[in-house]
């Protein structure tokens, strides 16, 4: 059975916003990273010559190495963005939902 308090949380606008935004952020970041990794895997298996080609004309660093480092850099950036969002958007919402649950209990 769902308790009255839980029902109130599910109806809470801020809770709904928290769930919606966080789900969207997590899912899109995750899909972006997994997609790039899948791309790297597919190229490794089916088009190795693409990854072996030099990134710049006349350069020596191949596309595969550059793509690998680029994915690592993207992981760094997405981590920073997620932490910033968590501290500045998700946490205030969580706090506010928890406060309203506690106030509901006192009443």
């Amino acid at each position: 059975m769902l308790s009255e308090a839980d029902k109130r949380v599910l109806m809470n606008r801020e809770f709904q916003k928290l769930v919606r935004v966080r789900r969207w952020i997590s899912a899109s970041f995750m899909l972006l990273l997994l997609g790039l990794y899948l791309l790297f895997s597919l190229l490794s298996a089916y088009a190795p010559q693409v990854l072996a080609r030099p990134l710049l004309n006349g350069g020596t660093v191949p596309v595969g190495i550059a793509l690998g480092y680029a994915i690592l850099a993207l992981i760094f950036i997405l981590t920073l963005v997620y932490v910033w969002l968590a501290n500045n958007v998700f946490e205030p919402l969580e706090k506010s939902v928890r406060r309203s649950v506690r106030e509901g209990q006192e009443r």
Binding site: V9, F15, V19, F40, T60, P62, I65, G68
Partner: protein, 517 residues
């Protein structure tokens, strides 16, 4: 005899023993023993988590992969880092919000306690014990080469120290040891990487050119395909890293050593920073080893192979960069790395027995604190003793299969079960059990029928299962069974479990309401 290495190693061991004595005085309750009293901050925990991941296998093994295969190692480097994004984006905060000491707590949050806990404890042990054994065998061989100590002596030294750390110091000692080692390893890796770049005038292109010119395979190392060329193998490796990392019990346990979800998130964020940085270095170190080690007669056997095998490439390179003193430092750090990682694994295996099996399954959550801790310590002692014995028996065997099994099970048993219990409201006990055991059975079966066991160990001509890694199939088996046996579950128990999902969902999103200030 490598005197520098031995002196520095004894220094490290003395410091860790002092830490263990200090930690033992502060380890009284279960929360102290399993979770360091939840007293660890995000930065330190991030270092400790990074330390768990930066094992001898990552530092020496992945460097060796770069050294011998070049670009194929990028697959490991990307996957090994991306696994942490999965933990950050999907797992860490919820794990901390729902659990107490182990990921089994999360799976058992709304599902039936005894059967699912038994299964996730088996999952934890099936990852921790083979992994531990692989590390011990590797440690014995490595220490033999590095320090000139006999194999069995090295194994016993590692086994005794890890048993002491865990039995007396619990998670607090294990965390500090891991933290110190992580700092040492990051320092050592930075010096090697910086040294290589200095010799290459900080020009990455020059390093690549030099590596291609020196390597026996020439420009083939700057293309994929030296090691992997079929998609099934590649995707299995990718899945094992991306999702297996989030199923490693000794890593997941670290998220309970911090006070709340916020610090859990900070822990992973810091860990990603350290791990990503280290992975960047490893590629440079591997290419550096190609340039400065692979043609250097000082590091060659008479037949032209590398002294101590490819795993030693990073260690040899340290001698080129910093001479005998730095070689000693890196050898001591490699030894410290093994010690710190096996301690974490031992603690997680002991916790699966004492917290999951004894306290929750056998005593139904009503165990006495002192008995539970005694059981945990006895288990630690028995694990130490048996892995020492097994590691001595396995001297010279190919233990890669053990690490293979561990990561496959982490990705195809622990991760999917934990993920589905967090996110899928229709997930039921029946589905969890069917999925978890299907993943376990598929992993084991395919490893046995695969090239490593069927051909290399049992001597058959052709493997029944042609691929080295079972992860793709085992994960699919878990998900298919979990899906089918959950949606067709019409029992009363299933109905109640589905109904209590919302309650769990709320707690996983906002944390426990009472605790928060």
């Amino acid at each position: 005899m490598n005197v520098n290495a031995i002196v520095m190693f004894f220094l490290f061991v003395s410091i860790t023993l002092v830490i263990t004595v200090w930690a033992s005085k502060r380890t009284r309750t279960r929360s102290d023993f399993y979770a360091a009293g939840r007293s660890i901050g995000g930065l330190q925990n991030g270092l400790a988590i990074a330390g768990d991941f930066m094992s001898a296998a990552t530092f020496l093994g992945v460097t060796a992969l770069v050294y011998s295969t070049g670009m194929d190692a990028m697959l490991f480097i990307i996957g090994g880092t991306m696994g942490w994004s999965v933990i950050l984006l999907l797992i860490a905060e919820r794990l901390r919000n729902l659990g107490k000491y182990t990921f089994s707590d999360v799976v058992a949050f709304r599902l039936e306690r005894n059967p699912v806990r038994t299964m996730s404890a088996i999952g934890s042990l099936a990852v921790a014990i083979p992994y531990l054994l692989a590390q011990m065998v590797g440690a014995g061989a490595l220490i033999q080469v590095l320090f000139g100590l006999p194999y069995s002596f090295a194994v016993i030294l590692v086994g005794v120290l890890m048993t002491l750390y865990v039995t007396f110091g619990g998670m607090l000692a294990t965390t500090w040891i891991q933290t110190i080692k992580a700092v040492l390893l990051l320092t050592g890796g930075t010096i090697i990487g910086f040294g290589v770049m200095l010799l290459m005038h900080f020009n990455f292109g020059e390093l690549v050119t030099a590596a291609v010119h020196t390597h026996a395979k020439g420009s083939a190392i700057m293309a994929p395909g030296v090691m992997f060329d079929d998609f099934i193998t590649i995707i299995s490796v990718a899945l094992a890293f991306v999702f297996g990392t989030a199923g490693l019990p000794h890593v997941l346990m670290r998220f309970f050593t911090v006070p709340d979800a916020r610090q859990a998130r900070r822990s992973v964020a810091h860990a990603i920073g350290f791990i990503g940085y280290f992975q960047c270095l490893i590629f440079i170190i591997g290419l550096g080893a190609v340039v400065y080690v692979s043609k250097n007669p000082e590091f060659m056997n008479a037949d032209g192979s590398l002294l101590g095998g490819a795993n030693m490439s990073a260690v040899h390179l340290s001698k080129v960069i910093g001479g005998d003193f730095f070689l000693g430092f890196i050898s001591a750090v490699a030894f410290a790395t093994i010690l710190a990682v096996v301690s974490g694994l031992t603690l997680s295996a002991a916790t699966a027995v004492s917290h999951d099996l004894y306290a929750n399954v056998l005593r139904r959550g009503a165990s006495d604190r002192n008995t539970e801790l005694r059981i945990s310590r006895i288990t630690t002692f028995l694990i130490g003793l048996s892995t020492m014995a097994l590691a001595i028996l396995l001297e010279g065997e190919n233990v890669a299969v053990l690490a293979l099994i561990a990561l496959a099970i982490a990705a195809s048993v622990n991760f999917p079960v934990m993920f589905l219990s967090m996110y899928w409201s229709r997930f039921t006990t029946r589905g969890a059990l069917a999925g978890g055991y299907a993943g376990l059975a598929t992993s084991l079966l395919l490893v046995i029928l695969g090239p490593t066991v069927w051909v290399e160990m049992l001597g058959f001509e052709k493997p029944v299962f042609p691929y080295l890694y079972p992860t793709l199939f085992a994960m699919l088996a878990n998900l298919a069974f979990a899906f089918w046996f959950s949606v067709t579950d019409k029992s009363h128990r299933a109905f109640a479990e589905i109904e209590s999902f919302d309650n769990q969902w709320i707690q996983s999103e906002i944390g426990p309401v009472e605790e928060a200030p």
